[in-house]
Symmetry: C2
Subunit: 483 residues, 2 copies
């Protein structure tokens, strides 16, 4: 033994430093509203403030926490600011963070039922709860033919769905024999890029991904899908997968699930439905019509880590036929064999995902649902949608701005009437101002501003201030342009 | 507005409940040693204790924390117990848990540099530190041609490596055109099952994975590899990837990297080296010889979430040529376009991994390295290895037990001399006893016990107690067998 017996943080030290970190986070919530939302550092600034080499001797925890303020904070884009209207929300909440903390403290692995039965069973249970809470098809329940699992992201969910589709379409031979260039997948021109990425990863090839045309509301045209599938079959190809979206990333467009589902069923395609952000809205019965037709889906996902107050990562993924998924992703080396698995009476989530290891992510989701209750979640989702719709009404009432489309939920796509260059300048100016942050997309070839309401603590005053700021910056730019 | 304005946990409530959770974890550390390590619940027990439906109204946080004790705890297998010697360690520490907590509280996304520059730059920086700390090849540094990134697991790292290999071997055409059944990958019979899974996911097909024979020390035979590659080329196939392991899951066997590396280079194979657990040992210069030949590697990974006191998930993955990886995994839809990305001056880690989203995992790794210091980490790694070697010496000195192989580091593979049935019974009895937990593997067709030392708070007394218990249970079984 050396002069010191341990370099571990003791339980007593953990109590002390843990309280300091909890307080730091509470303080952060109280001040984040006043910080510039988009980080203004230049490439390399943060690294320049860090020592070139790691320390040989340990440092006191106070020094670490100090550097969060002095080094890290200026390099953050504040996703938890109520003035964050960019991309999509990645909202969090107290119960979620404390669930994550407990999960880290318990440090259990959920790869097998046996390696922590509660980790598996709580996940199955909470995903069954969500089937009820969101009005999803009963086949997704674990007591039926399907079941749910938490993935890290909708990207991974899409990949798992595609792999199961590939296997099912080839009579469960593609894992063994590999891809042969005949498998074809379908999405719309508006589908998230993760589907393209999944198609390349799974070896189908980007050339075998058909991006189906959309209608004026940016929703997939079922007639175009049907035509493409028939053409591909005629060409000797093997259509196997279609991804429909409830709430596209670009504009929150909703693909018509009933006709797409009927085509998928007739043609033997695996239908995956991606509702990454918009899926949360289904917690309110009045928005469930957006997912009509979900009974045709072979798989479905939405992200509580976007809009349901559960910190990243937490994507909920369901399948209607768990056998196909498990058969696709299962492995069982000797060192993982155990009686519980052999009995067939348990779920081993290792066989429902790409990685082997997994942490206890169900805890935070359980905490969120129980802390808010279904009615609390409904309240805040309704409030966000109401705020976005109010914002849209201001855009509509303005003679300078126009809506790019009618916002179905909490994302408003709009633009100034002066065209792309003007809108691009407007966006840059607004974001450099730091008082709020929004991003852009392109719709029908036109540069379009995206204003997405969903951050946990966003209130009417934040939306109002953002709209005032947009108008002021636009007026200033107009003046400059007319000089 | 309804009667209540918000269902969110306020900062003040968060301070209070946060302290309670911190204290709960500290208490857990103080008592976990006395809990049965392997959960004894039966399938369905945990679910039976949970309400069938989610609550409509929110519940107080105290009720949630109460249920951790009353419902969850009995369903946990205690990976953080110092009596956990099963599978591999998934050890944690105070600084890691508090880093995870901060990451959850900040709730930033690191998919692009722009979405939180500090999240990207700290990750790059800490992975550069680790190149130094572990004596890895300089080409892995971000200032050279390569760079590092945090993945969720070694499974995902292997998949990313294989995808880059597939692309490079096909002149960067496999993403576009898909797989054609000609690509071949190589691993040993002892390689982790994640490589087989990666080969199926990537569309190469399990039939195109060659499991190369091993020598008496369970290490890949380079001559056998060379023969297989030549045979496959003659058959018109396209060898593209080989995975070598430093410390196999089964037995901690070490594949000989220099000859494998030379074959890989001659034959144009992408060499991926997986050192998931054992890689941590390289923090001590005296164990670095195990990774001799790493300069031939195109990619390398090890898991701080196994044996470096950093809670799951944290796999560190390096490539020698980042261009190949990024070209393989990059996507750039309109809604993610930004000036920083277009400048080429920044890393967008979205292009280094399967999912799009990513959390701020570098924080916990930074906290661990700074809290322990290099010397503190070395101290504990040396101590674990010393304890495992001591255990091995007891096995060797016993006339009832034998070593299945000489343990290179912290994993001891051994067995009772009475054969498979006896060892299986012994393992079951020991684990049902609850005082410690170990698992098994098969080596040369024989059931073999695995005793892995690496849990954060494992001390000599825990290893001694486990060995006493093993001997006592064995003696009892011997008596029963001879009755």
């Amino acid at each position: 033994m050396g002069p010191r017996e341990s370099f571990h943080m003791t339980p007593e030290e953990f109590r002390r430093h843990g309280r300091a970190v909890v307080d730091w986070i509470a303080d952060y919530w109280e001040r984040v509203e006043r910080l510039p939302v988009l980080s203004m550092v230049q490439p390399g600034d943060i690294r320049a403030a860090l020592p070139a080499s790691p320390p040989i001797d340990g440092e006191p925890f106070e020094a670490l926490l100090h550097d969060i303020d002095s080094v890290i904070l200026s390099g953050l884009t504040h996703w938890q600011s109520p003035n964050f209207f960019a991309f999509f929300p990645a909202n969090t909440s107290g119960p979620a963070i404390l669930g994550e903390l407990l999960s880290a403290g318990l440090g259990v692995q959920g790869m097998l039922w046996l390696t922590s039965p509660a980790c598996t069973e709580l996940e199955t249970h909470v995903l069954d709860w969500l089937v009820e809470m969101l009005g999803l098809p009963g086949s997704f329940k674990s007591g039926s033919t399907g079941g749910g699992v938490i993935q890290d992201s909708a990207s991974s969910a899409a990949l798992c769905a595609l792999l199961a589709a590939r296997e099912r379409a080839t009579g469960f031979l593609s894992n063994e024999k590999g891809c042969d260039g005949r498998l074809v997948a379908y999405a719309s021109t508006q589908t998230h890029s993760s589907v393209e990425k999944a198609v390349t990863i799974a070896g189908l090839g980007r050339a075998n991904l058909r991006l189906v045309e959309v209608d004026a509301a940016f929703a997939m045209r079922p007639d175009a899908l049907a035509t493409r599938v028939v053409e591909d079959r005629r060409a000797g190809l093997l259509p196997c997968f279609v991804c429909a979206t409830v709430g596209t990333t670009s504009s929150n467009a909703v693909d018509p699930l009933p006709p797409i589902g009927r085509i998928a069923r007739e043609q033997g395609l695996w239908l995956h439905v991606d509702a990454a952000m918009a899926g949360t809205a289904a917690i309110c019965p009045e928005f469930r019509h957006l997912q009509d037709g979900l009974e045709f889906a072979d798989s479905y996902c939405f992200n509580p880590h976007k809009w349901m107050f559960t910190n990243f990562d937490c994507d909920c993924f369901w399948v209607a036929d768990r056998t196909a998924l498990v058969r696709t992703l299962s492995i069982l080396p000797e060192y993982l064999k155990n009686r519980a698995t052999e009995s067939g009476a348990v779920i081993d989530y290792r066989d429902w995902q790409i990685p082997l290891g997994r942490r206890f992510r169900a805890l935070k989701l359980w905490f969120v649902i129980r802390s808010y209750g279904v009615s609390g979640l409904q309240y805040h989702v309704r409030r966000h949608i109401e705020l976005a719709q109010t914002f849209a009404s201001w855009v509509e009432a303005s003679d300078r701005f126009e809506l790019a489309m009618r916002p179905p939920l909490n994302l408003v796509c709009f633009r100034h009437r002066r065209g792309d260059v003007f809108n691009r300048d407007l966006l840059d100016r607004v974001n450099q101002g730091g008082s709020f942050y929004m991003t852009h997309t392109t719709l029908e070839g036109r540069f379009t501003l995206r204003f997405c309401v969903g951050q946990t603590r966003t209130e009417e005053r934040h939306v109002e201030a953002a709209w005032r700021q947009i108008q002021a910056v636009a007026a200033d730019l107009e003046r400059k342009a007319s000089r």
